[in-house]
Symmetry: C2
Subunit: 145 residues, 2 copies
């Protein structure tokens, strides 16, 4: 079972932004901070901005910052958004795939329940709770603002 | 989130074998039954046999059949085996990956819990329970044998 590399990178980026929630970060800074090429970061930021997790500000003083407090962002919501075009197996594809065992197969419902259990587990954790231990003291005020 | 195509194909194959648990099926028959090229089926059967889910018998009357009753095979056990070389994200790799955020990151534990919730959900379902509804009547005796 794999998540997209873009999902991995996006979660890293959100954690780095959550560490300094009042500061805009440049794409270049973020690329270095998460160890990912800058062109990847640009795409990731666009996707996260469209979903309302981050906001971008143009200009010399601009950059990227969280659009919501880290305590309000559920990891499940982020992963649901980033993996929205992925299909767990062929029959989960929007077009139904071409599996010759549909529609009588009952494996699909079994996999769908497990998939939902995975996401429900992630829903129980906020971005704030993923920050490095001891790294939150200076931003509690921001997170609650 | 995706499973390997080989996992998808293997689950299909096990369902087809579970439908006629007392009969050996040829690789060619199975390839047609699950809609997958024969060379894929050969590899899948080898992997499932090594894990003790199926057994193979050589010769003209040989073929592949379940090595355990369908009611005794948990979908979670099958998926754990088939996805054993997969890493959910980079830091789940056996070598630890190269993510610059380790080791202080707490996302890993969050993802590990969700991964386990996915597998635990699959553990709650047997292969027998994935068979097409109404397709079990003729094999109850075999499954309990």
């Amino acid at each position: 079972m794999r998540l997209l590399a873009a999902t991995d990178f996006s979660l890293r980026l959100l954690i780095r932004l959550a560490e300094t929630p009042t500061r805009h970060r440049s794409t270049e800074h973020l690329a270095q901070a998460i160890g990912v090429p800058r062109n990847h970061v640009h795409k990731i930021v666009q996707d996260l901005a469209e979903a309302g997790f981050v906001r971008t500000i143009r200009g010399a003083q601009g950059g990227v910052m969280l659009a919501q407090p880290a305590a309000a962002i559920r990891i499940g919501a982020v992963v649901r958004h980033l993996e929205r075009a992925q299909s767990l197996v062929e029959c989960f594809r929007p077009d139904g795939g071409a599996c010759c065992m549909s529609p009588e197969c009952r494996l699909r419902a079994t996999l769908a329940r497990a998939h939902e259990a995975f996401l429900a587990s992630l829903d129980s954790t906020s971005l704030e709770e993923c920050l490095p231990a001891g790294g939150m003291q200076y931003m509690v005020g921001d997170a609650l603002a």
